[in-house]
């Protein structure tokens, strides 16, 4: 699937799902993939873009994105996330990065601190943590894909948004 339009709305849906999940509890068990329990949160910035064709877009910056009623209200009005900053914590390791819906890519990834002084070790650990992040994101995306096929998916989003 290399269809840009399809990827763009899947990216927006995935960001919306991440926002929804992070507002609820943000904890996922990826034990079956050997990744343990992870916690995810949307933090600092979220860009919302209208899908109703009115050209509306806004950037909300706050230390408490998940608590802001204005974010949920804006989404209720049909403005979906096009970019957000995401924090993932897994076994005391922490990643912080930007996730964009179109192109659907992670960028500016802040990696967990290695605590290593040896350069070679530091490089190995940073590369390992990058591949671990890729595995986590792939697992999260797969979880989202499976969940969006479930019957109650749309109903549950509506309940979350208060619609």
């Amino acid at each position: 699937m290399k269809n840009n339009q399809e990827a763009a709305y899947m990216g927006q849906e995935f960001l919306l799902w991440l926002y929804w999940k992070s507002c609820e509890d943000g904890t996922f068990s990826l034990e079956n993939l050997g990744l343990g329990e992870i916690n995810i949160s949307v933090e600092e910035v979220i860009d919302l873009v209208s899908i109703k064709g009115d050209g509306y877009s806004e950037t909300i910056k706050s230390t408490e994105i998940m608590e802001l009623d204005s974010v949920r209200e804006s989404i209720r009005l049909g403005r979906l996330p096009s970019l957000a900053k995401i924090r993932i914590i897994s076994n005391h390791l922490e990643w912080f990065f930007q996730l964009k819906a179109s192109p659907f890519k992670m960028s500016s990834v802040k990696l967990p601190l290695t605590g290593e002084k040896d350069e070679a070790e530091m490089i190995s650990q940073r590369l390992d943590s990058l591949t671990k992040l890729d595995l986590i994101m792939k697992a999260l995306f797969n979880t989202f894909m499976l969940e969006r096929e479930e019957e109650g998916f749309v109903k549950n989003i509506k309940i979350f948004l208060g619609m």
Binding site: I51, S108, V109, L111, L127, T131, V154
Partner: protein, 199 residues
Amino acid sequence: MTKLLKGTITRTIFKPDKNPKNISDIRESLERFAFKKIDPMDIRDESTGWVDAIMSFDSKNYSSLMHDRFMIFALRTDKFSFSASQIRPHLEEAEHVFKIENNLDYIAAQQRKEIKEQVIKKLKMNSIPKVTITEVAWDMESNLVHLFSQSSQVVVRFTDIFEKTFEVNLETIELYDSMKQIKGTGRIEPVFGKIWSVQ
């Protein structure tokens, strides 16, 4: 400092259609397309090639190549680039001097082209090229190549030289690739339409 050691990271991930045979093969391939410094007198404005990921001046030894299951190296591009406004005063001066020295009112197009080339050569000799270094980490276990950039210019340049160097074809790996496995090749309809009226 190399992004492999410090700082935030932005990547594009690729999957080559072949695995490299061994480390000496990789080393030989890198050497064939190693970075060569650009000479200001050279007609080319740009030079691209492979360097060591930690010591970006080294394009011979690649002493930092192996890191556990990763092969790391970097793509270096040196480029001389002058805007029209940078060239203009030097060109106008050179043309003015040429007219006086040769007692001319008009300079022929070919002559004007040559004067411009001389002006650009002088500018190159008095400046240093813009340097871009982009790290690459090749995971030998998963056979995935991580390019530490999403710049389209860098991606195009990298794809071209990587494919030539290792005689492989690269496919970009995306976050949403697993959709194919889950949903097959059929079109996936957005769920938005079931919640909002979408234009």
